[in-house]
């Protein structure tokens, strides 16, 4: 059971990483990075590491995404077209 979930989530994570580095749309790359953190925290929990899972959930999918978005806003100030 655990191995099925880990395999499926791992494949989805690899696809998300591929999307994050290959896409031209920066916002899509940020969202894909958020997906990677999300699934990574589930996988850490399955490997019996709740501390790491909580850190990944709080920092990886919450704070890092938002700091990326703030940075995107700072470098795109005044440029109103995506």
């Amino acid at each position: 059971m655990i191995s099925i979930i880990i395999t499926v989530l791992g494949v989805v994570m690899i696809l998300a990483a591929f999307l994050a580095i290959r896409t031209k749309n920066l916002l899509a790359a940020i969202i894909s990075a958020g997906v990677i953190s999300l699934l990574a925290s589930v996988i850490y929990l399955m490997l019996a590491a709740p501390d790491v899972a909580m850190t990944e959930a709080a920092i990886g999918s919450g704070l890092t995404t938002i700091i990326f978005i703030f940075t995107l806003k700072k470098i795109r100030k005044g440029d109103l077209n995506d």
Binding site: P50, D51, T55, A58, L63, I66, I67, F70, T71
Partner: protein, 227 residues
């Protein structure tokens, strides 16, 4: 074309290098010498239910002090590099639901953060995670209203007081127990196993770390996100 072939070759080489790890992989059924010592010591000597917390705060306490210092330096760097500028660009206000909901959820997130870092020795999580939760609460307020002003004196006060007390508690160990016991949590009574007031000074140290991390990251967020 040549570039792509080289990239492909490099990836193949990496796969060949990592293949033995995949083939010979096996779960460790028994703990090693050092880790079994940590597990027994944290349960018997320190009364801490969460072994990770005991390792981070006690056995590797100096490393944690170093990490907090690194975070302080990062905050100082961000504060030095990112100056706030007045922009003429007008930003759209947020919806009423977000404004009301953020004020309501602010309290809930702060309470959860305090729960996380005071229960660091009982449940997963601890000072860093609790501090990030507190930061997220302030972040929600920034997202709801970009013109929000934080009181920097309070942030500075909390940050410096918690950092100073962290070192002072460590020095109490040297003073009360012995020369080699900087940051020893046994300066307070150890209490009963599994209760909130147990594991000596670990909850106190983790609360201080949580406050310090929370105020530092809030400063970073304020510098980056505020208009």
């Amino acid at each position: 074309m040549i570039k792509r072939i080289f990239i492909l070759l490099a990836i193949l080489g990496l796969i060949l290098m990592f293949l033995p790890f995949l083939r010979d992989f096996e779960f460790h059924q028994e703990l090693g010498e050092l880790s079994s010592q940590y597990v027994e010591g944290s349960v018997n000597d320190l009364n801490s239910q969460n072994v990770v917390t005991a390792v981070i705060v006690t056995y590797r306490g100096l490393d944690t002090l170093g990490e907090v210092t690194v975070l302080f330096l990062a905050t100082a760097g961000v504060g030095f590099l990112l100056r706030k500028k007045k922009t003429s660009l007008k930003s759209r206000g947020s919806s009423e639901l977000l404004q009301t909901g953020s004020q309501f959820l602010f309290v809930l997130i702060i309470l959860t953060g305090i729960y996380i870092f005071t229960h660091g020795h009982l449940t997963p999580g601890g000072g860093f995670q609790g501090g990030v939760l507190i930061t997220t609460a302030f972040l929600l307020l920034i997202l709801a209203d970009t013109n929000l002003k934080f009181n920097h004196k309070i942030l500075l006060f909390v940050e410096s007081i918690s950092g100073a007390f962290y070192v002072i508690i460590g020095l109490f160990g040297v003073l009360l127990i012995g020369m080699n016991s900087f940051l020893d949590p046994a300066i307070l009574p150890l209490g009963n196993f599994g209760k909130l007031l147990s594991a000596g000074a670990i909850p106190l140290i983790y609360s201080l770390i949580g406050l310090k991390v929370g105020s530092e990251l809030t400063t970073i967020i304020d510098k980056m996100g505020g208009e």
